[in-house]
């Protein structure tokens, strides 16, 4: 284990994983008296699919919220691309190329699918408000260029037919997919997915798993995901962090984690769906 913590490694299926992209160092997060995260450290390497698992209330979402700047930990440091990250607002984190989806879908309900996905391009669009007011010329050109990128993502996630539909009218499974599309439109270096398959049926889960693997494979995007379904986690992820009551109780490949006694006691032992 220790040798793979410092540099890249080769996965079981032969993919090359690079150096450390993000490192969480001794993170502690409290809400008043409640300790949501206690002294947790782990890293995410370039190109890997990293899973965070744990029972309900373990602090998984809180950890993603620390990464994306919503929560400021009382202790600990976040390192990104080899530098210590100063305290940042969520939109600044986004501008660094970190995109995410939410456990409870957070789409723009009043906007069409296309507009929702186009918001993912915001930080790639450089024209100022005066150029946009005139539209002809720079603004229109930029809009079309970014629309082309977005259409590729829409094709990739197979949501062409609902392009112009207001998001509020879509069924749950499709909303999850649109939210992924919006995050992909950012062309992120690091993609955070908070329970991307929660509430889906088997078929939808299979589709989503395929998309996640394809994203990682085709674009080389580093992915950190939270998931409850152990089968899915074992299939998808290269390495797994296990949390329980805000503490880290395991970290390693799916096989290592599966055979870890603490993990079996705390998590795998209890019934889950």
């Amino acid at each position: 284990m220790s040798d793979q913590m410092t540099e890249g490694y080769i996965t079981e299926d032969g993919r090359k994983i690079g150096g450390t992209l993000m490192e969480m160092k001794n993170i502690t997060l409290r809400f008043g008296g409640v300790k949501a995260i206690t002294d947790i450290s782990f890293d995410i390497k370039e190109g890997e699919i990293r899973a965070i698992i744990g029972p309900n209330g373990a602090g998984k979402s809180s950890m993603l919220n620390v990464i994306s700047g919503f929560y400021v930990p009382q202790e600990g440091e976040v390192w990104y691309k080899g530098a210590k990250r100063p305290q940042m607002k969520p939109y600044q984190v986004a501008q660094q190329g970190i995109a995410r989806t939410f456990q409870n879908i957070a789409l723009f309900e009043g906007m069409s699918v296309l507009d929702n996905v186009m918001t993912g391009r915001l930080n790639h669009m450089k024209t100022n408000m005066f150029q946009q007011a005139i539209w002809k010329g720079k603004a229109e050109k930029e809009e079309v260029e970014n629309r082309e990128v977005v259409e590729k993502i829409i094709d990739f996630l197979e949501i062409q037919s609902i392009r112009k539909t207001p998001v509020g009218r879509l069924p749950y499974g499709l909303k999850k997919r649109v939210e992924l599309a919006r995050a992909l439109a950012v062309e992120p270096h690091l993609l955070l997915l908070d329970e991307p398959m929660a509430g889906m049926n088997v078929e939808e889960k299979e589709d989503m798993s395929r998309f996640i693997l394809d994203v990682n494979d085709e674009f080389g995007t580093t992915i950190a995901l939270i998931e409850h379904d152990m089968g899915v986690v074992m299939d998808l992820s290269d390495r797994v962090v296990v949390m329980d009551y805000g503490k880290k109780i395991g970290d390693g490949t799916p096989d290592e984690v599966r055979n870890n006694q603490d993990v079996i006691d705390a998590y795998l032992g209890v019934s889950h769906d």
């Binding site: 995109a99 723009f108 906007m111 186009m118 930080n123």
Partner: protein
């Protein structure tokens, strides 16, 4: 049959991004422009310009402005009257201080001044939302009216405390003052309306508009996708106030000619414009026009029918107007929050499929 996109395929994304993607819509839009610029000026008279066209055009600009803030960006404002007053007083000060500069420039500058004031009063929006923001903008409304009443510098120390617009010309033709022609003031306002509507349309279909709508729909998600909420909200306040300032400047200088601030730009004005966008449709440029037209025409119509034809007393007709407007607002808020614009869309949807509804 001819109103549909079937057979009207878009081959580029630029085409798909057009304001009116359906051919028939586009032609109707050109027809409206043609009619407004080349027919109306020749047939218009003083009654029509003062009772219908000028208030409609000027309120349309204010409604577009408020719609950007409320309908697109989701920030409630009850300060419209106050911001219109800023536009009016700014243009008055500019007109009297620099008489040699074109009134056209002055009106744009008045919009710019209002924009700055709007941004200043928009600052609290970062911290407060909804009802509380509405109260903060209400404070702006009262403060601004009070300020223009209290500080004589704003009304150039005139004895009456009123401001009145001196004559100014464009290409030698008077657009302000007592000796204006109906067609001239109409065209002057129409040019501003056209420019404002185009700017609003362009801003709302691109990145800026998507940022505003993202903030409106879910500010947390907007932040996570990279929208700076402060910048985005303030840009909505800036653009919105610019339009409202232009409309206030026109309302004073071209339409009324003389203004007593508390009477003209009081809280009633704020509500009137808000009602326009609620009835017309939140988040729709077309809806801003529809709402302005509706609330300008309704009293004219009621007065003509009830007072003119049925012989009702004027005050009774006025009361009825209040009741109708009030009832309509409740109906729209409950049954059709997207207003007249949505009714229009639904009608078009039906028409597009007609005569084969499946």
């Amino acid at each position: 049959m001819f109103y549909r996109e079937a057979g009207d395929f878009k081959t580029t994304y630029a085409d798909d991004n057009q304001t009116f993607p359906i051919k028939f819509d586009r032609y109707r839009y050109y027809a409206v422009l043609f009619f407004a610029f080349l027919i109306v000026p020749f047939v218009i008279n003083d009654y029509w310009v003062n009772a219908v066209f000028m208030p409609f055009l000027i309120y349309s600009i204010a409604a577009i402005g408020l719609n950007i803030l409320v309908g697109y960006c989701g920030q409630v404002s009850l300060g419209t009257g106050g911001f219109m007053a800023v536009g009016a007083y700014a243009v008055y000060k500019l007109m009297t201080a620099f008489p040699e500069v074109s009134i056209f420039i002055h009106i744009l500058l008045a919009g710019g001044v209002t924009s700055l004031v709007g941004v200043a009063f928009g600052l609290p929006s970062l911290r407060i939302k909804g009802f509380y923001l509405a109260v903060a903008t209400l404070a702006a409304q009262f403060f601004l009216v009070w300020l223009f009443n209290k500080v004589p510098w704003f009304y150039n120390y005139s004895a009456s405390g009123q401001i009145s617009a001196p004559e100014r010309t464009v290409f030698g033709i008077a657009v302000t003052g007592p000796n204006t022609a109906a067609w001239a003031t109409y065209l002057f306002c129409l040019i501003f309306v056209t420019i404002c509507a185009l700017i609003a349309r362009n801003l709302t279909r691109g990145t800026t508009g998507r940022k505003w709508m993202a903030i409106r729909d879910m500010d947390i998600a907007a932040e996570i996708i990279g929208v700076d909420p402060l910048k985005s909200k303030l840009s909505a306040f800036a653009v919105s106030s610019f339009f409202i300032g232009v409309s206030g400047a026109l309302f004073f200088s071209v339409y009324l000619g003389a203004v007593e601030v508390g009477e003209v730009f009081g809280i009633n004005k704020s509500f009137l414009v808000l009602f326009m966008i609620i009835i017309g449709g939140l988040g729709s440029i077309f809806g801003s026009f529809a709402g302005a037209a509706f609330l300008v025409l309704l009293p004219v119509l009621l007065k003509n029918v009830l007072v003119g034809m049925l012989g009702w007393p004027t005050d009774l007709a006025a009361h009825l107007e209040f009741m109708i407007v009030g009832a309509l607002i409740i109906i729209f808020l409950i049954a059709e929050p997207h207003g007249l614009a949505q009714l229009w869309r639904v009608a078009k949807e039906k028409l597009r499929l007609w005569p084969f509804p499946h």
